[in-house]
Amino acid sequence: MSLVTATIRRDLLLAARNPGEWLNPLMFFLMVAALFPLAVDPDPTFLSKIAGGVIWVAALLATLLSLDALYKADVDDGSLEQWLASGESLYAMSLGKALVHWCISGLPLTLMAPVLGLMLALPEDAYWALILSLAVGTPVLSLLGAVGAALTAGVRSGGLLLSLLILPLYIPVLIFAASAVYHAGIGMAWNGQIGFLGAMLALALCLTPFASAAALKLNLSR
């Protein structure tokens, strides 16, 4: 078994045995979305208009919350040095880490989102758009976020810094995803937006592991 698959297996196993790791962001996701009706307006006609955007903002924040820990343990316990010494491709390694992160954050968020849609009076036509946009969009969030996580892995209290670095990069995903859900809700075509999200995913899959790999090597020099 190669080092990459072994690491993926180990990380998934760790997440399974320590459910807080993926449950906490999920609960955060629920709570943030619940704040909007409380703070703004619980009227269903109003909520149905903002539901897609609110769910997406909550998903984005929940993803950020779980990113901080992505490389921290590996830097602290020396696994990172072992990867670098092993000669295994760091590109594949960072791709694998982003994949694991998506499995424990983006995937549960995607599965959970319809429940939130119900609570926020999401229009019936918009459910597929919501699920599809999350399924295509959250991997982009994980991939871009992994770059930030690798950059801040060795920084003390890097969590806030990570959000500062990564949030501006998340804007295009947010725009296209929220617009897909909104347009589906008012009965307009939304396949173009999903297409753009797919293009971003393809680009992020190809390019972000390079940046992650370069950023991981930084953690050795300190």
């Binding site: 770059v147 500062l164 020099s221």
Partner: protein, 268 residues
């Protein structure tokens, strides 16, 4: 036959020219890598750049503020364009320069490039802020509000956030080398993202007037308005070059403070 020979000769001279130019570029590159060479050669440039930026600013502003005709729609309020457009252009190209300098450091480990990338960040962020502020001031009489969620305003705001991110990351790093490298990686990621951000927000919402200047099209402005604008743009770039050179020289002095040539300069 003779035609063929001539042609062959032409290719040969072209080849030689290319090789000579390549050698010259390589030499320039190696020289640029030497802090001492950079410091010495720029000493003579500073007064020229300073005079040029002062004269350019005075001429451009006097022409723009006093002599250019008022806009038929926006009246005199359009005159803020002479600050707004150069600042906005510079903020965008400064990010590009920062990313390129960062890439040079990542690939060839040229210290000079790291220092240049480091000193560009706050300057670029300042110009970005100037563009946003002048845009807000311009928006009040034109659109009736200080801020709208318009595409270009938003993408400038996001550019400012990217600058802040690079600066915050550089400050958070403990070792200098990792600060430079982390900043370089983030600015490269940002550079790839800038067009995506730009087009996505443009697609999302547009209220801003279309770009005043496009390289590919004949300008839609009257020459009396255009010439001061061009003067201001060139002057802003000169001023930027001056700032970057001054700040890079400071970095050189600080990092090379233990070298004998710096000690000599500091003593004299």
């Amino acid at each position: 036959m003779s035609d063929a020979l001539c042609f062959g000769g032409g290719v040969k001279t072209q080849l030689i020219a290319v090789v000579v130019m390549w050698q010259w570029l390589k030499q320039l590159y190696h020289r640029l890598g030497s802090p001492k060479w950079f410091y010495e050669i720029t000493t003579g440039w500073i007064p020229w750049l300073a005079v040029l930026s002062v004269v350019g600013t005075v001429v451009g502003l006097v022409m723009g503020l006093l002599y250019a005709p008022a806009d038929y729609l926006q009246g005199n309020s359009f005159r803020i364009i002479y600050i707004h457009v150069p600042a906005a252009l510079l903020a965008q190209s400064a990010f590009m320069m920062m990313a390129v300098a960062g890439a040079v450091y990542l690939i060839w480990r040229m210290k000079m490039a790291a220092w240049v990338a480091k000193v560009i960040a706050p300057v670029g962020a300042s110009f970005c802020l100037i563009a946003l502020l002048t845009g807000a001031i311009w928006g009040k009489p034109t659109w009736g509000t200080w801020w709208v969620w318009d595409a270009r305003l938003t993408s400038m705001l996001l550019l400012l956030f990217l600058y802040f991110g690079v600066m915050a990351l550089q400050q958070a790093m403990e070792s200098e080398d990792s600060a430079y490298r982390a900043g370089a990686i983030l600015s490269l990621v940002g550079l790839v993202n800038i067009p995506i951000i730009k087009y996505s927000v443009e697609w999302w919402n547009t209220l801003h007037q279309p770009a005043t200047l496009k390289l590919t099209e004949k300008p839609s402005m009257h020459p009396d308005m255009l010439i001061p604008l061009l003067i201001m743009i060139v002057t802003t770039y000169v001023f930027f070059a001056l700032l970057i050179i001054l700040r890079t020289r400071n970095e050189i002095l600080w990092h090379e403070r233990k070298r004998s040539w710096v000690k000599q300069i500091l003593e004299s």
